[in-house]
């Protein structure tokens, strides 16, 4: 246990050899993770929990940690404390001691404390608290071996015993009683044994800190100065604009290189012709059509497709979309995200965006779910747990699911409509703020102010970056390929049975009248429920004007979340999810209808 962003997940990974995502910003872990640590021939279960400031939960993520604590009364606890902010960590440690848990303190980021000229007397702290205190540098695995040894030796802790040690150390002010800290807090023994108030706990923290911490002279370094400038609006905003520029530039260049430079050739010149030649059945056989190439009719003659994008078979378009187009884009997105996370830039972006996000009922940390959603909406929705109130979670979840396109969707957009991607993204982001602002006015509830903890800039550890990218990419492949395959299969079957035509005919007044797009858009909309990237690829095959294409892509983006996001919203939102759905339908009609209206007014439809 410990505060957010003190290195709990890094310690967990090191102890268990597990792969839990850890980053240099608070709120990375929003659920608990279990793993096994093998020590001296024994398997010991280790649980990583979200960070918490005290034993009174402020948000859903903290509640997960505290539920886990309550459900495991016999657990031994590693209380991880940031050695540069010992007082804050000690408050939580005293809270845990009061509950009587067997405890070991890990004074993590010991190296940073040294760099900042902060010296903690771990031995004295250990003797005052009566529990093992181990200095650690989790990213380098320093001190973790001693931590494992001491964890097994940890016995029950007692706040009364702590008080007794404080008295013996000469900290107490009265000789009136034995065995408690009541005297330093001005209280009687029986009272102190019951429960410490927050003020009393802080007094105790102060007394301990005074005797264990020495803070030497510290001069502001260049790294600190840059850290400060990147959170100040005047200097931080240009820096943020440059970072976003770099992000988008590297994303499009890398995805373009791999997709246009190699994947298009591999799929269109080798894979598609090979399948067209060897797949059983051949043209005219329905299974061939579903799996390899639906083809198209030209002058009354069935003609084979020449590209994987237009063939629309499970093995051609399906694999091309996910492996050829989306995988390179998602990979480079996750590489850059991991770098930004580990450098420590995201919390600075959160500070910069705080004032702006308050206007839509959120606060700076809403940047985290938003940026995660640009990779995949599912972890983005899960990350809304770091927001404190129901109102904030509702607003965040709703506008994420509607307006934030995932990496796969952006990659396909950039592949099929590179010249309009910027416009579509801008229109979606505009909707994010317009409807966020509206929801903030309508939905009752509060938006608390928060104090953001900005970590120091750190050089990313390449091993951790590689691990994170590998985990996220693997997870993408595991989720995307089955859904895309299923999506193409279902849509192809529906097409072949004439169901899409019936649906298109029935919904024509809405599609053609209100949205101003061809009625055939009904087919991709069905596919969008499984995968939005697949739906956008389908749209590119429907003949329409560029304005209709932009409108149709916006419609596919916002009309409904994909299946993965749908279930995550249901899990995280509970009953509120149905409220989100109503908002979603209303927004899809108004925002897409409005875009159609703009084209009509401009006379370009």
């Amino acid at each position: 246990m410990g505060h957010p962003n003190v290195g709990k997940s890094v310690i967990f990974n090191r102890l268990t050899g597990a792969d839990v995502i850890s980053s240099n910003y608070p709120g990375t872990t929003v659920d608990y993770k279990k793993g096994l640590m093998r020590h001296k021939g024994e398997d010991i279960e280790v649980i990583d929990v979200p960070g918490t400031f005290s034993l009174e939960p402020r948000d859903k993520a903290e509640a997960v940690a505290l539920d886990m604590l309550r459900d495991n009364q016999q657990a031994r606890i590693i209380c991880v404390i940031d050695a540069t902010k010992l007082e804050r960590g000690l408050y939580l440690a005293l809270d845990l001691i009061e509950q009587g848990y067997p405890l070991v303190l890990a004074l993590n980021m010991w190296d940073i404390a040294h760099d900042k000229n902060i010296s903690v007397d771990a031995g004295k702290l250990s003797s005052l608290l009566g529990l093992p205190v181990i200095p650690t540098v989790a990213v380098n695995a320093e001190g973790l071996s001693s931590l494992m040894d001491k964890l097994l030796e940890a016995g029950p802790s007692s706040i009364v015993e702590v008080g007794k040690r404080l008295r013996l150390a000469g900290i107490m002010t009265s000789q009136a009683c034995e065995g408690c800290s009541g005297c330093i807090l001005g209280k009687a023994c029986d009272e102190i044994q019951m429960h410490l108030t927050p003020d009393e706990r802080w007094t105790m923290v102060e007394q301990i800190a005074q005797r264990t911490i020495t803070i030497g002279h510290y001069r502001h370094t260049l790294k600190d100065a840059i850290g400060d400038y990147t959170v100040k609006p005047l200097t931080g905003t240009p820096f943020a604009i440059a970072i976003l520029f770099a992000f988008w530039s590297v994303f499009t260049t890398f995805a373009g290189l791999v997709t246009d430079g190699f994947m298009v050739k591999a799929f269109d010149l080798y894979w598609l012709p090979w399948l067209q030649k060897w797949f059983p059945g051949g043209p005219g056989f329905w299974f061939y059509g579903v799996m390899v190439d639906l083809g198209h009719v030209k002058n009354g003659v069935w003609t084979a497709s020449t590209t994987c994008l237009e063939s629309f078979g499970v093995l051609t378009s399906g694999l091309y979309l996910e492996i050829g187009v989306v995988l390179p884009a998602v990979f480079i997105f996750y590489v850059m995200l991991a770098m930004l996370e580990d450098v420590g830039y995201l919390p600075r972006l959160a500070v910069l965006m705080d004032t702006f996000l308050h206007k839509i009922g959120l606060h700076g940390y809403a940047v985290v779910p938003t940026i995660l959603s640009l990779g995949c909406n599912v972890p983005g929705v899960e990350a809304t747990r770091i927001l404190e109130t129901r109102k904030q979670r509702f607003v965040m979840m709703t506008i994420l699911a509607i307006f934030i396109p995932c990496g796969a969707q952006i990659a396909i957009m950039h592949d099929v409509i590179p010249q309009y991607t910027g416009f579509v993204m801008a229109y979606l982001f505009l909707g994010y703020f317009v409807f966020g602002f509206t929801l903030n006015r309508i939905i009752p509830g509060t938006t608390p102010d928060i104090i953001m903890d900005v970590p120091v800039y750190q050089r990313p550890i390449m091993r951790d970056v590689r691990r994170k990218v590998a985990m996220r990419t693997k997870s993408f492949l595991k989720d995307a390929i089955p859904y895309v395959t299923l999506g193409i299969l279902i849509v192809n079957i529906l097409y072949s049975q004439g169901a899409i035509d019936v649906l298109a005919k029935a919904s024509a007044p809405v599609f053609e009248g209100w949205f101003g797009v061809p009625r055939q858009t009904a087919g991709p909309l069905l596919a969008a429920f499984l995968r939005k990237d697949l739906a956008i690829a389908q749209l590119s095959a429907i003949p329409m004007t560029k304005y209709q294409l932009i409108t149709a892509i916006v419609l596919v983006s916002i009309y409904f979340p994909c299946i993965g996001t749908f279930f995550m919203m249901l899990k995280e939102g509970g009953k509120a999810f149905f409220g989100s759905l109503i908002v979603l339908i209303f927004v899809a009609f108004t925002w897409v209808g409005l875009l159609h209206l703009v084209w009509v007014v401009m006379g370009v439809q």
């Binding site: 760099d115 000229n117 002279h217 001069r219 502001h220 370094t221 260049l222 100065a225 840059i226 400060d228 400038y229 200097t235 240009p238 820096f239 604009i241 440059a242 970072i243 520029f245 770099a246 988008w248 530039s249 590297v250 260049t253 890398f254 373009g256 290189l257 246009d260 430079g261 190699f262 050739k265 010149l269 910027g422």
Partner: protein
């Protein structure tokens, strides 16, 4: 010596600012700038957005000039250079990425002569100015040395 470096960074900052303005305004107006030594993009992304970042880079460089050995001023100077490096690095990456795949039908990779030809000038202004921004690292090194000396002492 200090004045000499101050003059150097002032010249660099002014040049960066001017090239950024040129890029941004040309892209905003949709005007093509032809220059044999420097390539200017007219696209909304690289031209306008990239030009804006280059403008910020020049502004940071100029605002960090006064007493630039002081850590906060040096930080501004360094941030100006970092912004320039961001633009230059993305331009170089785009140049290399465009030169790798084969342009001949059926070829996966470019031949070495074709690859080298694709890397030939003209370059963007950020790439041209990149080497001139590197001396800031001398001052960063001096500052880091001072910090570690102060801690040791």
């Amino acid at each position: 010596m200090k004045r000499l470096w101050q003059g150097y960074f002032a010249l660099l900052g002014a040049t960066v600012l001017f090239s950024g303005l040129l890029e941004f305004l040309a892209a905003a107006a949709g005007h093509q700038i032809t220059c044999p030594a420097v390539a200017f993009s007219t696209g909304a992304f690289r031209g306008a957005w990239g030009g804006l970042v280059t403008i910020f880079s020049g502004m940071f460089l100029l605002s960090g000039l006064r007493d630039f050995r002081e850590v906060h001023q040096l930080a501004k100077l360094l941030m100006g250079c970092i912004l320039l490096w961001i633009i230059a690095a993305t331009d170089i990456f785009a140049l290399i990425a465009a030169a790798i795949p084969g342009t001949e039908p059926g070829s996966w990779f470019n031949s070495l002569p074709a690859f080298l030809k694709a890397l030939a000038p003209p370059y963007t202004s950020a790439v041209v100015l990149l080497p001139f921004s590197l001396p800031v690292l001398i001052w960063v090194k001096k500052s880091n040395k001072r910090d570690s000396g102060a801690k040791g002492g």
